[in-house]
Structure formats: structure tokens, C-alpha cells
């Protein structure tokens, strides 16, 4: 298993453009994310961690995103739209095998 940078950077903007999404939160383990954020803040040349986790497994790519949903949108619909946006994004990025797209709504409103 390895971390993959496959188009993960561009995914941020793609997901944030989905109607109803108003925030993107780190999907990785909390400690890892906090440490990476601190390192990025202290060392300008180090990029801040990407909030979207893309992991390459033998069965295909596994993608995870945690989102915040605006109050005037239905969270289940937004969640499904984000899943569809991720799937479409990877179709355009070479159509790799995808084993899982996990989208979690961490906050509503």
C-alpha cells in the first residue's frame, strides 16, 4: 500500500465546486495530519497535507474525503454528488481502477 499523489491536488477544487460543499476537512488520521500541518507551517518549502486521502492498493485506488455541507442543502444528496464528482475526475485522469470512494459529511450548516 502506498500514498498516491494521483491528481489528489486538483481534487480539492473539484470537490469544493460541488454545489452544497462549503468545506473540506482532513480525511487522514488526526495525528498524522496535525504533525504534517505543523511541519508545513514551520518549513515553507514543505506543502501542507492534502485533505483528500488517495491510497493505492492492489485492488485499486481508495479515495477518502471529509466535507462540510452548507445548511440549505440536503447532506445525503451533496454526499452522493461529491462521490460522483470524484469518480468523474478519475475517469478523466486515466480511468484507474477504483476500489472505494469514501465521502463523509463531518459538519452540516
Amino acid at each position: 500500500m502506498s500514498e498516491s499523489a494521483v491528481a489528489a491536488g486538483e481534487l480539492d477544487d473539484y470537490i469544493l465546486a460541488v454545489p452544497g460543499v462549503d468545506a473540506l476537512y482532513p480525511a487522514g488520521p488526526l495525528l498524522t495530519t496535525v504533525v504534517a500541518s505543523v511541519v508545513a507551517a514551520l518549513i515553507p518549502s514543505v506543502a501542507a497535507p492534502n485533505p483528500i486521502v488517495v491510497v493505492e492498493r492492489s485492488g485499486g485506488l481508495s479515495i477518502a474525503a471529509n466535507i462540510g455541507v452548507a445548511p440549505d442543502h440536503a447532506a445525503p444528496d451533496v454526499c452522493r454528488r461529491v462521490h460522483d464528482a470524484i469518480a468523474e475526475h478519475f475517469r478523466h485522469a486515466g480511468d484507474p481502477v477504483i476500489s472505494e470512494i469514501a465521502v463523509t459529511v463531518a459538519r452540516i450548516g
Binding site: 468545506a23 476537512y25 482532513p26 488526526l30 496535525v34 500541518s37 471529509n66 462540510g68 455541507v69 445548511p71 440536503a74 447532506a75 445525503p76 454526499c79 452522493r80 462521490h83 469518480a87 477504483i98 476500489s99 472505494e100 470512494i101 469514501a102 465521502v103 463523509t104 459529511v105 463531518a106 459538519r107 452540516i108 450548516g109
Partner: protein
């Protein structure tokens, strides 16, 4: 207007560590101080955390409610650690947890979609606290929310202020409005099968008299 002093109850170091883990290294007191400073300088470790954002929203709502409450009642509450203000602060600590994973349906074979329990409780609180005179003290989802189709009972404990009640309105009528608002949110924002929304009124609080009329001297 200065924010009212919000009393805090004592808690042990293990709870503190757990709270900091949930709130990206912060405590409820840190968030309270952040509000006191007008959220400046901005702190991305707070602003980018869903748990912190939820807690900040609730602290702001509590502050707004306390501004309407009779100051003598606030003083009495602040003197103890078991009053409704302390209860609400305690519940903010507990409910900033992400909690259980509530699955959402999808036609996609690779989809794993979910709401966090914390997100659902947060939006229920927003609906409840949005009704004048209602402050949610505790909110709980009883039942196996991780199992699609399982029957869930929402249990709310609320404080009721007289300012939110229409003339002649009973507490029963006010809680009916709350139940309807909560149910509407559950239908819009979740796929849970709701068996019941149980509401217990645990406190009644008095409100500040209206501002002095024209002609009366202000300080």
C-alpha cells in the same frame, strides 16, 4: 456588549486529553477565549476543524441566549456547577465528537458514504436553538444508527425561556414546534428511520425585561 462570563465545570486530565484530541489540540476554554478575541488572529487549526467549528457555533448561540436571560438568573446559575448553563457547556464538550458513522445509500458499488453522528446532532441543535426560547441541553440518538433502517429515537433535553413563547402558548405547543422542526431536519439531512422524537423540558428560565421606554433615563 461584553460576552457574559460562562462558568466551566472541573474535569479530570484524561477527559482533558480526550477533549483536546477531538478539538484538534484545543479545549472548550481555548475556543471560548478565541471568541472573546473576536476570532483574531485567525487560527486555521480551529477554523479548519469541523469539531471546533461546531463547538464555536454552539458557544456563540449560548452567549446570545445568555444575553437575553435575566442577569440574576445567570448569576445564580454561575454560582453552581449543576445548573443548565453548566449542563450545556458539558454537552458541548461531549458532542463535539464525530461519534458513530451513519451510512448513506448509493447505487455505486465503490461508494462508502456516511454522515458523522456529530454532524447530525449539530444540525439538530441548530434547528432547535433556532426556535426562540429553546436551548437544547442534551441531544442523543438512541438506536443503532450504523445499521440502515434501524429504528432511532431522538432524545432531547431542553431549557425553555419565556421570551420564545407566543402569548398564551403552552410549553406543550412550543415543544410541538420544536418536534416539527427537528423532524423536518431529520427528513432532509439524514436517511434515518425515526421512531420518535422525545423531548424533556428540564429547565425554565426568566428573560430580561424589555429595554426602558422612551423618556426613561438610561445610564
Amino acid at each position: 456588549m461584553n460576552a457574559p462570563d460562562i462558568p466551566f465545570v472541573a474535569f479530570d486530565p484524561e477527559e482533558l486529553a480526550e477533549e483536546q484530541a477531538r478539538l484538534s489540540g484545543h479545549t472548550i476554554e481555548d475556543l471560548n477565549d478565541y471568541l472573546d478575541r473576536g476570532r483574531t488572529p485567525s487560527d486555521s487549526s480551529i477554523d479548519d476543524s469541523p469539531a471546533c467549528t461546531t463547538a464555536l457555533t454552539r458557544l456563540e448561540r449560548l452567549r446570545a441566549a445568555l444575553r437575553r436571560v435575566d442577569s440574576a438568573a445567570v448569576d445564580r446559575e454561575s454560582a453552581g456547577t449543576d445548573g443548565w448553563v453548566a449542563t450545556i457547556i458539558d454537552s458541548i464538550r461531549l458532542e463535539t465528537r464525530a461519534g458513530r458513522r451513519i451510512p448513506l445509500t448509493s447505487d455505486s458499488p465503490v461508494a462508502r458514504l456516511a454522515l458523522t453522528e456529530g454532524a447530525v446532532i449539530g444540525v439538530l441543535r441548530t434547528a432547535g436553538d433556532g426556535i426562540d426560547g429553546i436551548l437544547i441541553s442534551r441531544c442523543r440518538l438512541d438506536g443503532d444508527v450504523t445499521e440502515p433502517g434501524a429504528q432511532i429515537t431522538v432524545r432531547l433535553e431542553v431549557s425553555v425561556g419565556a421570551d420564545g413563547m407566543n402569548t398564551g402558548e403552552s410549553i406543550t405547543a412550543l415543544t410541538s414546534r420544536l418536534r416539527a422542526a427537528v423532524h423536518a431536519v431529520l427528513v432532509q439531512q439524514t436517511e434515518l428511520s425515526i421512531a420518535a422524537v422525545d423531548i424533556t423540558v428540564t429547565d425554565l428560565y426568566l428573560t430580561t425585561p424589555p429595554p426602558s421606554s422612551e423618556g426613561e433615563a438610561d445610564e
